[in-house]
Amino acid sequence: MEQFKKKFLEEANDLINSLEDSLLILEEKPTEKKIIEEVFRVMHSLKGGSSMFGFAKMDAFTHELETIYDMIRSGTLSVTREILDITLAAVDHLKVLLENGEEISETQQNNQNILLSRIHKIINKDAQEEITADTATSNVAAHKESEDKSKVYEKVPTYFIAIKPEEDIFRNGTNPMLLIDELHTLGHCKAFVKTSRLPSFEQLDPEKAFFYWEVFLATDKSIDEIKDVFIFVEDVCNVTISRIADDNLLAKTVFIRELDNFIEPVKETGQSELEAFVAKLKYNEPSLQEEGLSFRADEAAPMKRLSINNIRVSSEKLDDLMNLVSELVTVQASLSLFADNQDNPELAAISESIEKISRQLRDNTFEICLIPIETIMIRFKRLVRDLSNELDKEIQFTTEGTETELDKSIIDGLSEPLMHIFRNAIDHGIEPAEDRLAKGKPRKGKIAFKSYYSGTNVYIQVKDDGRGIDVEKIRQKAIARGFISPEANLSYKELLNLVFLPGFSTAAKVSEVSGRGVGLDVVVKKINDIRGDVEIESQLGVGTTFTIKLPLTLSIIDGLLVKIDKTFFVLPLSSVDKCFEVQDDALVKSFNNKIVLDGKQVPFINLRKEFDIHDNKPILHQIIQVNHDDFKIGLSVDTVIGEYQAVLKPLGRMFKDLEIVSGATILGDGTIALVLDPARVINTFDRETLERREKLYRENHRKDIQLHAGY
């Protein structure tokens, strides 16, 4: 367990560092959507990770932060200096939490509480305003509008307006409430009702007005425009308007908070008092220190220097390293050739040493770049276990092909999106046991992980047998969110792919585990970052399969090196079954492209013929028997050289249509060998396979027809 925690802490460190960067960018460009999304994603990942590894404090903390950025993301809140200050302080606090785990000192706990309350304040700010406004006016139709405007009104002046209606203002049909409503339409407005003139109940004359109001208004309108509001009531209402600040005081939390204490409902606010109050606040800009937060730069980064066990190197650098090593091997091969011809024992010794070192260097470089997918599997096993307990679901988790090796950077980039996929499968995919039994499914849900090589790609599949995706729901949701028009005619696949759009979530509720619609667009973004693709297949009631296709640029395959004429080819060893030696005339005289191997008739493909190579025909051919689907097929070559670890290199765009060759590899002496994709070779050349498929298709088709005829 410690090992996972450690891994998480390392990751969290990275996430927090990138978060700080993003926040600083956000300060410059507060409306940049991409950055907001980025910040939100980091929060989301931190929350997910900390909840998964039982860091309850961090989980609670990041959850609140996430909520803020969710509001910003959806446009309910806008980024302010205040929010950024709090977030940065929160980031510092997160570092403390990361450093000390769950055991934090009292001051730090205090810090957390203060930060949390401030965060709550931001989240609930809208709600508070609504309440104050409601106490002032009974019908605040314009409230919503003024709230929207408040975002724009950061820099506008604030006015203080005292509205004192004459007692008999009602006589001419004036409703002072409407005046206040109108003020709300001008800008950001906060009204206080004054009750000092209210007589005792016995003396109350319902036809007379006793209330009066004091209103704070932040607006870009001129004082004359404000006066225009009262133009029809000038003689029945005593209105004083004064400008009290050049900026929007109502946007400042301290002002709002202090204001409630300052304004007394039973006493008229004096002009001088007000000025003093505003002046005092001006010099008391809200600061975190004032709130008792003790963060200082030296304390803010209390991370004990973690001893560096692992370093991250950009894959570009590794690519460069790899190329340089290949180059070295090439040069070394020519050196040994030269040394062999020189008959100079000293030179031969040097050349041998260099050969040894360069081989070691090559092996090391390969090792640096490649790690099996197994290394990240353990955490997913744990995730499935924990989450299924938490959600009270029974899940059987199987893995296959975890020995598949991938580039380190690809594996790194893979873990986060895979985590989201697993969460989705557990949370949304697999149904509770009772539901499953009711549907006639086995009690235990199944999640299967599988990875395998195919050509130049590694495929990773996560398959669940859960409830599947209801595309009709997706369609409705997409229409509701404005992603597609109601008339849009989308295919099943296109509809399914809508779930990858940012901000799209089919879950009705926001859940602790997944939800809020970040999961799947993160998956796509992260997989694209490592040059991969994601595909989704789903059948309602049957299950969902995510397939991730990753490039193999730096991956190594164990191959069998063979030769036809002068050209070297590599066949992936995983598909090779056996090698046989046959006479040339056995191939030529073979009937129906079948040859007897091990006493069985095996179809074969004469690669010489198919590749159009006619020179230097050998007397003896080698037949490589390969496994394809569930039958065996032979491929004929001239010579088998032996096992070879092939570093796959792309052939490039000039050969992008060439399916049978999945890449090239550079041999020790610098020669290029072509890596064949046996499955594609067979599909391309084996007529019998084609015919078999055709037959199969026809049979299935006939079944379909029969089925239809049956109805």
Partner: protein, 173 residues
């Protein structure tokens, strides 16, 4: 590049020979010139793809320019070279090698030295030409390197006008 007396900007072009024809390519597109070496033939690739070579650890596709230009294939000689070019294919840079019979020289030309390619009676499709230059009674075709090498088609037919037509039509598709 430098200024001439007439004020035109000098651009360098690498001239090379394919059979009897002379061609030139903007030097800024040429990365290096390699001696002929063994080329790994890639099966089932277009006829003009000679194969791939190892260029310092990466795989470089090599085109047989003669075939690409619709000329008959010949045996390689000691003069045969691989010109490594950096072309723009579908908006992205691509490095490839082009086999030529021999590399001649670097020409310094101003824009005015290059005449517009003839539209009628030429055995080459003007679409792939930047223009032509007259040198000692010979014409040198200045190639539009990006266009010539980024298309999948055989681009030009050199021998007869009859053969030229289908190739041009193919390109238009």
């Amino acid at each position: 590049m430098s200024e001439t007396k007439t004020g035109g900007t000098l651009t360098s072009y690498l001239s090379f020979r394919l059979g009897e024809e002379m061609f030139a390519a903007d030097v800024s597109k040429v990365l290096e010139i390699l001696e002929m070496r063994s080329i790994t033939k890639v099966p089932r690739s277009p006829s003009y793809m000679r194969g791939v070579i190892n260029l310092r650890g990466s795989v470089l596709p090599v085109l047989d320019t003669r075939i690409k230009f619709g000329m008959p294939a010949t045996e390689d000689t000691v003069d045969t070279c691989i010109v490594v070019l950096n072309v723009i294919m579908e908006g992205e840079p691509l490095t490839l090698g082009a086999l030529v019979d021999s590399v001649e020289e670097v020409l310094e030309l101003t824009e005015t030295d290059i005449e517009a390619p003839p539209t009628i009676g030429s055995k080459f499709n003007p679409e792939y030409m930047h223009g032509m230059v007259k040198m000692d009674d010979n014409f040198i075709m200045v190639l539009n390197v990006d266009k010539v090498f980024s298309t999948d088609e055989l681009v030009m037919v050199a021998e007869t006008a009859d053969k030229a037509r289908p190739a041009v039509e193919e390109v238009k598709e």
